[in-house]
Subunit: 241 residues, 2 copies
């Protein structure tokens, strides 16, 4: 794996012969940390134009320029799936974002529930984790990580055609199976470590677009539940079929 090409997310448009400037952080990573230099090949993606093989034209500590040579892969977007979760301890929150990006979330929305401890998140750091997940796992799409918002406000303004798969450990047994008929826009909501409050549970159960789903007989940590829930969804109505 020593020769594996570096994959780098850039915001710049990509096309044949396109020059792509690097910012200071990217230059530091590529030339400083990874020891690449002029003439070396790098894979680029920007979340819109697929994957491109590029050549380093110019390398300095403060920046650099690459040139996109040819497209090596098409743009691949995930299904229209939002992932809502309540932030927990730092490392596990990072993990949730990484896993949601890997598993094919289109958007990641941290939400504050009645039992969420976090008052704020580092949106920029979480976004960086989503980018890194795409870089490491061969993805061409980077889900946007939204700012922290209150769950009840988000549900007030909920787009009526977006179904909500809501995973509640108190549901054990009441699983509602998803089928191919349930295609379209979706969101998955992962509860906080302390579970949902009674008020939240009542409200969620009453929502016309909510589909309660059980994740088996064991209690799962939130970071495990994200992967398990996305697997259930991807198999039933996502792009695993």
């Amino acid at each position: 794996m020593a020769d594996a090409k570096i994959r780098l997310y850039v915001e710049h448009p990509l096309g044949e012969g396109q020059t792509v400037p690097l910012d200071r952080d990217q230059a530091h990573y590529l030339f400083g940390v990874m020891r690449r230099g002029a003439g070396d090949a790098v894979l680029l993606f920007n979340g819109r134009d697929g994957e491109w093989l590029a050549t380093v034209q110019d390398a300095s500590k403060r920046g650099g320029v690459l040139r996109a040579d040819n497209q090596t892969g098409p743009q691949r977007n995930p299904p229209d799936l939002w992932v809502l979760f309540a932030p927990i301890k730092k490392a596990r929150t990072d993990f949730i974002v990484e896993k949601a990006a890997e598993m094919g979330a289109a958007r990641i929305l941290p939400v504050q529930t009645d039992f969420t401890n976090s008052e704020r998140i580092r949106q920029d750091r979480l976004q960086a984790h989503a980018i890194e997940a795409a870089e490491q796992c061969g993805g061409t799409y980077v889900p946007e990580v939204a700012d922290l918002q209150k769950l009840d406000r988000l549900l007030q303004d909920w787009p009526e055609d977006r179904k909500l798969m809501f995973c509640d450990e108190a549901l054990a047994g009441a699983t509602q199976a998803l089928g191919a008929a349930d295609s379209g826009a979706w969101a998955i909501l992962i509860g906080p470590e302390g579970g949902f409050s009674d008020a939240e549970r009542t409200r969620l159960n009453a929502l016309p677009f909510a589909h309660p789903v059980s994740l088996g007989p064991r209690i799962l940590r939130a970071d495990t539940a994200v992967v398990a829930a996305m697997t259930v969804w991807q198999m039933a109505v996502g792009d695993w079929t």
Copy 2:
């Protein structure tokens, strides 16, 4: 959640009125770190006798004694599922063990493949992660974490009635769906970060007990793949149905 009872794994038999000695590490955790003392209640499980409410009888820095008062939950064992994985970087290997225990593995077997970097593992540390996962997630069963062994040797001595679900990113599309007819003893094999070697892939595909399964169109890290694969299995032939 401040009043949530501590759950502690012990090796001692549990039954009504049974006294349970604590070792030095457990005493340090319970009395030193968690500040519990004589008269306080703790939940105990030993992987065989269910969950018990116990009272601290005697607390000292070097040990202690609890008394089991009454059973608070039955013993719940997972399905007969082994999880085989190739160790990767330390933190992610810890994570794989934690997640496998949470998701209901009966046994966890680290294996050396052609592209595995690790020559050895800290079996005791990994076992401690499996115990902690059960303590934290309300489980009453702790999967044994085996010592590192070579995959090809393990396959030589493979029990012929144990099916093997093997997850290979090179399979994309060739998914073999599991059905209820596939009940019985199983193992899941998660490939190493560098994938399987050609020789391994050829051998795995030729095994009469192997079921190749795809985990969707995206490349997943090994720790993500463990949770996704166990979800697929638990839904199809495990105890999620």
